[in-house]
Symmetry: C2
DNA sequence: TGTGTCGTTCCGTGTCACGGAACAAACATT
DNA sequence: AATGTTTGTTCCGTGACACGGAACGACACA
């Protein structure tokens, strides 16, 4: 029963809803009466909400609980000042992401009034190989995982996404040397990105990035800012000042 | 059974853990074998995690789901640029909060390297009457709720918290006239705060605030910035530019 | 060695989750 | 207006599985 409830809640990814009852039954593969009963329980618990037109969406209680997750909250809290610095230095959309399995999960995204239309919402996950943050993490996470990713077919979000393992391997090697990862229209058309890993010990525990409309992408000017922020956060996590 | 699982998850508020098995049994009032079985299920679902010392804490999946909650995500997304403006104008800790029942829930908090030690974590809730954001919301949320709050005993976080209904009523009337709410050491000793409501239609749907160490609290300089940010966000939510 | 608390496993009991069937209401199509 | 379709909802008999007391070994402390 817990599994069924979780199935319902997870079926709201990645949009959060709202969905109708029949829609939920279809998405989860559960019988309609079962969804009806469980959804009612979840609403009572505040995990789901009913919209004015009687559809279901994820509920506020879930937000409150999710915000408390220690591993996420602590890293986000520590990183925020550096994300601020990075934003003020670049005036562009900046990201904080971590690796979760073979994907990148975004913990924070800061932008000004001219927000880019990006798929990198907070809590959203994307393939490691298609994003700057993902490549920065992948380049510094141990050989076995790198090989695992390279072995599988590479996911493809745009026509520019890297699908050739050899090219990805080369990009990762460059990143390992330079400490910077680049991405050009591989996640969204028209948007380029530069990222740097954050270390706490040997491996990368997170990565920062700046996403910029392709037209005004100037890597040489962004690189020092991203690197500085990432190094600053790394030092902070190491327990420094 | 869903209720028991929810009880376990909710028992992690407000810290997020980690807690030992026996600790969870005590906090929830459930028998130890029951907690053991349910917690194992929750770990399998990613809603809880086990620390290296075998304790339980809230899991990453919960963060991802919570970030998708539409009502929260959309407001936060819309407000972020204005929070940025407010932060850059004041260089102090800025908040975005909404009302949830008779409490305020914080959706976002932005700060620099000199972060204040505040209880206003994202997702955390505090009494309406003890915070600047709460008072701004309370002053513009309809008479019936205001009276409800004033009728009950006022919660008390510090010796400076308002416990006299008459004084709170006066403060709210001032806020209704000026469009600004003040709070001085009522939530945390040594920290003062100024807040402004955000409107979308008749009632306040959110509020912004700036929290400042009491020593350098200069309301006259903060007021225009907070008001400007709140009005800008209000216009944006009304579908403006 | 004794005493407390810990996490974990077992298993008989009884409960409550389950979902097919049937329902009315809303909408779409002709 | 008549028909068909999809919607959300309720009912209820059946059986699976959640439940938690009891007992276990491991560990810490005195």
């Amino acid at each position: 029963m817990l599994d069924k409830a979780a199935l319902i809640v997870e079926s709201f990814r990645p949009t959060g809803g709202p969905y109708r009852l029949a829609e939920l039954a279809r998405r989860t593969g559960l019988p309609k009466p079962t969804v009806h009963r469980l959804a009612a329980d979840l609403v009572r618990l505040g995990w789901l909400e009913r919209t004015d037109d009687a559809r279901y969406r994820l509920g506020g209680r879930l937000f409150e609980l999710g915000s408390l997750v220690p591993r996420r909250r602590d890293l986000r809290e520590a990183a925020l000042p550096f994300l601020q610095d990075l934003f003020e230095a670049t005036r562009e959309t900046v990201h904080l992401g971590v690796r979760e399995g073979m994907e990148v999960v975004y913990l924070e995204r800061i932008h000004g009034h001219d927000a880019l239309q990006l798929p990198s919402h907070i809590g959203h996950s994307l393939p490691l190989s298609c994003t700057g943050v993902g490549k920065a993490l992948l380049a510094f996470c141990g050989t076995e995982l790198t090989e695992e990713v390279l072995a599988r077919p590479l996911p493809c979000l745009t026509p520019h996404s890297l699908t050739d393992p050899a090219r990805l391997r080369m990009a990762l090697e460059n990143t390992q040397v330079s400490g910077l990862a680049y991405e050009e229209q591989e996640a969204v058309l028209g948007v380029s990105c530069i990222a740097a890993p954050v270390f706490a010990g040997g491996d990368a525990v997170a990565a920062l990035s700046v996403a910029v409309p392709r037209a005004r992408f100037r890597p040489a000017q962004l690189a020092p800012a991203v690197r500085t922020a990432a190094l600053g956060l790394s030092r902070m996590l190491r327990g420094g000042i």
